[in-house]
Symmetry: C2
Subunit: 374 residues, 2 copies
C-alpha cells in the first residue's frame, strides 16, 4: 500500500488562510451537498441527506462547503429505498448529477480517481464522488456494475438497512451473510475498480464481504458497536478485519454514536479514537452522513425530521436509534464549522497534526488510490 507520505499537499490558499484546517485536504467519505432548510424537490431517497430532483446546486450550499474546507465528498445518488424502479432511478440520478456538475465547472469536479481529489484541492473546487447506498439496481445481472463504473460511480454500498439480493442489512433480523449473487457483484466491482462499501450491512454480510473481496473494502459511514450497541454501528471484529486487509473506516456524525441518540462532538471524537485503536491510524476517516450547510430554523427542521423518521419507520427502512426527536446529525458539529471544530477537538485530545490530516482526508485518498488508481 502506498504510504501516506506519497500524498503531496498542493500549496493553495484556503478560504480561511489563518485557520489550519482550511489548508487540509478534507474528504467527507459519505455526505451531501444539499440545503437542509429546504424540502427536497424530488422523491426522498431515504438517505436523510439530499433531496433530489433535476436542478442545480444553490450558491449558498457551494459557499458553505467551501467555507467548511471540504475538498471532496461522496454524495449519495441512485436508488436507496422506495417504489422506484432501482436501475432507471439510479441512472436518472447520475444524469442529474452530471448536469449539476456541468452547470458549475468552476465549483465542482467529478472525482474518478485519487488524483482528482488533489486536483479539486489545487483548483479550489469541491470534488464530487458518485456513490450508491444500495446495490439493488444490479437486479440479477452483475455486469450492470460495468455500466455504473463507466458512468463514473466510484463507491457502491451493497445493502441499505433491509436485506436485498446481495446480502443482509443492519435491520435484517436473520443476519444472513452475503449471497452467491452478492459475491458475483463483489467480483465485478473488484474488476471494475469500484469501492465495495459495507456500511448499513448486517455483521455477517460485512465480514463475509471483507473476506471475499480481493480489494480492501470500506465502511465509509459508521460508529463503533463496542461503544454504543446499535445495529448501524460496526463491531470491533468488522472494523479489525476491514482494516487488517487495508480497508477504510469512516466515522459518521450521527445520533447512533450515543445510546440515547443525542450524540455530541465529544462522541464523534470518542468513536474516532476507538476506531483508531482498533484499526490503526492509517485506516480511519470521516463520513459524516450530512452536508455542510447549517439549520436556520431548528424547530421547523425538527418537525420535518420527525415526520420523515416516522415515514421511514412505516416503510421499514429506518434503523434502531432513529427516534422522532432525533436529528440526523451531531448538534454541536454541524454547518460550515464542523470540520475545523473536529480538528480542534482532536488536537485537544492530543492527536498530532499528521494523524489529524490522515483522518480528515489523507487516509481515504491513499485507500482510494489502491482501488481507483492514482
Amino acid at each position: 500500500m502506498t504510504g501516506v507520505a506519497a500524498v503531496a499537499l498542493p500549496a493553495v490558499a484556503g478560504a480561511h488562510p489563518g485557520h489550519r484546517a482550511s489548508d487540509m485536504i478534507i474528504v467527507n467519505t459519505l455526505g451531501g451537498l444539499g440545503n437542509p432548510n429546504e424540502l427536497p424537490d424530488g422523491p426522498d431517497t431515504g438517505t436523510g441527506v439530499d433531496g433530489t430532483g433535476r436542478g442545480g446546486i444553490e450558491q449558498r450550499v457551494i459557499d458553505d462547503a467551501r467555507a467548511s474546507g471540504l475538498t471532496a465528498v461522496n454524495v449519495t445518488l441512485g436508488y436507496v429505498a422506495g417504489d422506484m424502479e432501482p436501475f432507471e432511478y439510479s441512472v436518472r440520478e447520475i444524469g442529474i448529477w452530471d448536469a449539476r456538475l456541468r452547470q458549475r465547472p468552476h465549483d465542482l469536479l467529478k472525482v474518478l480517481n485519487a488524483a482528482d481529489i488533489l486536483r479539486a484541492k489545487a483548483e479550489n473546487k469541491i470534488g464530487i464522488i458518485y456513490g450508491f447506498q444500495n446495490a439493488a439496481m444490479m437486479g440479477d445481472d452483475a455486469s450492470r456494475a460495468d455500466i455504473f463504473a463507466d458512468l463514473g460511480v466510484r463507491v457502491i454500498q451493497l445493502t441499505y438497512n433491509p436485506g436485498n439480493q446481495l446480502g443482509d442489512g443492519s435491520m435484517a433480523p436473520e443476519n444472513l451473510g452475503i449471497t452467491p449473487f452478492g459475491r458475483e457483484v463483489i467480483e465485478r466491482l473488484n474488476a471494475d475498480r469500484v469501492i465495495v462499501d459495507l456500511s448499513h450491512s448486517g455483521e455477517r454480510t460485512c465480514l463475509e464481504a471483507a473476506a471475499h473481496s480481493r480489494q480492501p473494502i470500506s465502511i465509509n459511514h459508521t460508529g463503533c458497536r463496542a461503544l454504543v450497541d446499535l445495529p448501524r454501528n460496526k463491531t470491533d471484529e468488522e472494523l479489525r478485519l476491514v482494516a487488517s486487509k487495508g480497508g477504510f473506516v469512516g466515522i459518521y456524525f450521527m445520533p447512533f454514536l450515543d445510546p440515547q441518540s443525542r450524540a455530541t462532538a465529544d462522541d464523534v471524537v470518542a468513536h474516532i479514537d476507538h476506531a483508531v485503536n482498533v484499526c490503526g491510524e492509517d485506516h480511519v476517516g470521516i463520513g459524516t452522513d450530512g452536508g455542510t450547510t447549517g439549520i436556520d430554523d431548528m424547530a421547523a427542521y425538527r418537525a420535518r425530521i420527525a415526520k420523515q423518521i416516522a415515514d421511514r419507520r412505516a416503510a421499514g427502512i429506518g434503523a434502531i436509534g432513529e427516534n422522532p426527536d432525533t436529528v440526523p446529525f451531531v448538534l454541536d458539529l454541524n454547518g460550515p464549522t464542523q470540520f475545523h471544530k473536529l480538528a480542534d477537538l482532536l488536537r485537544q485530545r492530543g492527536y498530532t497534526e499528521n494523524r489529524i490530516e490522515k483522518i480528515m482526508g489523507l487516509n481515504f485518498i491513499n485507500y482510494a488510490r489502491e482501488i481507483w488508481g492514482a
Copy 2:
C-alpha cells in the same frame, strides 16, 4: 437564426497544412469511429457503422479520423434493433463511450453544445456527439428524454426503419404518422434541447414531426428521393419543410444514392446539389453513415457485409436497396481522403469556398447552436 458569419474559424494548423480541406471545420452529422476491418466485439447495433463493446478506440482509427480532417462526428450509440432491452442497452453504451472518451482526453472531446465543436477544432481533437438512431428506449415514458439529455445525448432519431411507439419508419408499409406518444417525446426533447432527427422515418412521420416540433428538426443522414426512389431517401416535400423551418439535412455516402445501390462520389455531389436547390445552401451538410478508416481487404469485407445484410433482412430491419453485393458506403469516397475529395469535387462543380465550408460543417454548427445553445 444566427448567421453563418457568426462562426469564427479558429486559427489552427491542420494535419495537412498544404491542403485547404484540413483547415475546414468538418462535421460528420452521422458517422462512426470504428475500424471496418475488424468484426464488432459486441452485438451488432444494426447501424452498419461501429461494433460496440467495452473497449477503447484504437490508434489507427484516431489517426485516420485526424488525417481526414474530421472535426466532430455524431456517433450512433444505444439501441437500434435487436433483442436487447432498449433502455438498459442504451445506458450501457453511454457508459462505454464515456469511458472511451476518458481514455483519450487528448484525442476526443464530448460535444455538449455548439462551442464544443469549435473547441475540438482549436484543440486538434475529434468532437464526439452522442446520438441515438431509434427512440425505442423511451418505453412509455417521455421523461426518459431528460435522462439521456442529462447524460449528454444530443441527437435522438425517432425511428429506425421499422415503426416503433413514436411513429413509422421508412420500411413500415402503412406510412402512419407520428403517434401521440411520439408528439410527447418531441415536446420533451424540445424542452431538453436535444435535436429531433427524422432520418430513417416514413414520410408522413417526418412531415408531422417537422410540423409538431417547436424547434427545427434534422434529417442528418439521407439522400434525395427525387433523384433515387428508395424509401431511405427523403422526398422534396420533407426536405423543403425541414429547411423552411430552419432545420438541417445531411447527405449520406450510402448506396441508396444510386438506383442500383452502387453509388459513386458523383452521386454524392448530385444529391448534395439537389438538396441545396431544394433547401437552400444554409441547410445542407454531410452525414456519411460511415467512418474514416478505409478497407484493407475488400473481398473479405464484402463477404462479411453480405452476411450482415442477409441477417438484417431476416430480422426485418433492412431497407430496400440493401443487396448482398452492396457495401454500405461509396466506393470512391471512403477512408481518410473522403472529405478532401468531396470538397474538391464540389469545387469542380463550381461551388464557392464559402458554400463548401457551410456544407462541410458550418451549417450544422449554426443549426446545433439553435438547439443546444452556443
